[in-house]
Symmetry: C2
């Protein structure tokens, strides 16, 4: 394609890959949505599995890790970076945007926007890791869009380990969800942002606890739609329909049960994974 | 004291500190036991909180992290290293022992030995992280001591996040414990090794699920006794009773809620913590 965006050292074109990163494998739920929304695009995924999870770590650490990863992705000539991690989006996105010249999008803005469009009673719930919730990133984003909306936030740190253990529909999972979500139900929210890339796998139990009238917002889905919009606006969408797009997966550690768990997140089989060091 | 152990570059003496490390703050339960068993000793603790947890990571990663940390501790002139992390003990101890010249002890051998001495019916249970259990380190250690003993192992990856969330006596905690421990109860074990430094905080719920007749072995406690024995044998015990021993805490990241959670593990207030980079 003829379009290009000048970068410090390289020419980017529409067939350059989309770079996506997450602290681990949760971001594969965002990849799944990107593949669905943008089936022609080449993708490069980096999961920082050597240092997962980010949710309980300091802002300083998360910013440092995110810069390292972005540098890695830029070396792969990506045309856009999708920060497919709520914690990194909350803590590092603004710094990444300042530091790098290609479009960089996070998962928070698209989900916040969709929630604001969706709510009828002006009461939005947000669930995520401790890091994401303490950052108040969703709260601020929603308030910027509409200061009249009330935001009820709740950190649910046990949801990630439950998903990774594969306990999706256990009695204990329901009990944990009930305990975490009770105050959001009491607050009368009508919209709930799933502010962690692991949470779409718990949609069923979460929906059951909050009730069928509450609309769940999947941050990965909204981010994929937003990524398509940004690529269109910057003339970087890939229209090469005849070429089978490539998907490359890099991890900083090859964890136990990766192929099994990762494929659950992605919704299809991960063909190959390469281990890289960022240090 | 006059005794010393020659090292490649430094003189070690009985007032040199004991080095202890863990993937995060779980090892503070071992520090607590060390302080109780060896009240005169100076201690240096390194928690690799930037990369916690180790339990689900590859052997290669755990070995690399453990070597980096041991080098850091050796620069602090430690006279012995206590690997206060079951995963690192399982995966890296033999390599650390080969690589470094000071005494290095892990948590597995002391706990396995105590369990073998304790069991009457020859049926020992072991619980730990996925990494520890898959390594079969406890199984091999017990089999070496007495091949007639039957070992029943169970990975309990949700126990660590429950402890870190502070959900010690919740209904959900009991449900999770029941689900994990049922097969060990069915197997008729009379001794259960708590093969993770977080688990002593769940002693009550674990004891309830396995029944009061099962004896729980706290690997941290056994390790502290073993450390005292090794220091005595190498003439490196500190007898300087008049000096207030120093305890220094280093972390690779300063996580959220550290002082609160860390003090729970240690059983007393952590006065100061320094952040260090190992890269």
């Amino acid at each position: 394609m003829g379009f290009s965006l000048s970068n410090s050292s390289q020419k980017l074109s529409s067939d350059s890959p989309i770079g996506i990163f997450d602290s681990g494998i949760g971001g594969l739920t965002v990849v799944r949505q990107l593949i669905s929304e943008l089936p022609n695009e080449n993708l490069i995924y980096l999961g920082d599995s050597a240092r997962v999870p980010y949710g309980s770590k300091s802002s300083k650490a998360v910013i440092q890790f995110s810069i390292q990863i972005s540098n890695f992705l830029l070396k792969q000539n990506v045309k856009i970076i999708v920060v497919a991690c709520n914690t990194a989006s909350a803590k590092a996105l603004s710094i990444l945007k300042e530091k790098f010249q290609i479009p960089i999008i996070g998962v928070i803005e698209p989900a916040a926007k969709k929630a604001v469009e969706t709510t009828k009673n002006g009461k939005i719930g947000v669930i995520g890791t401790t890091g994401t919730i303490l950052s108040q990133a969703y709260f601020r984003e929603i308030q910027d869009l509409n200061p009249k909306i009330e935001v009820f936030s709740k950190a649910c740190p046990l949801f990630v380990p439950f998903v990774e253990e594969g306990w999706i529909e256990e009695e204990a999972t329901s009990l944990v969800a009930k305990k975490y979500l009770a105050e959001l139900v009491d607050a009368g929210i009508d919209t709930l942002i799933l502010g962690c890339t692991h949470y779409p796998l718990l949609k069923k139990v979460i929906q059951k606890e909050v009730g069928s009238s509450v609309i769940l917002i999947d941050s990965g889905h909204e981010t994929a739609i937003f990524a398509a919009k940004v690529l269109k606006e910057t003339n970087l969408l890939n229209f090469e329909k005849n070429v089978k797009p490539s998907q490359k997966y890099f991890l900083t550690d090859l964890p136990l049960k990766f192929t099994e768990v990762g494929s659950n997140f992605l919704g299809s089989k991960i063909e190959s994974v390469e281990q890289v060091s960022l240090d």
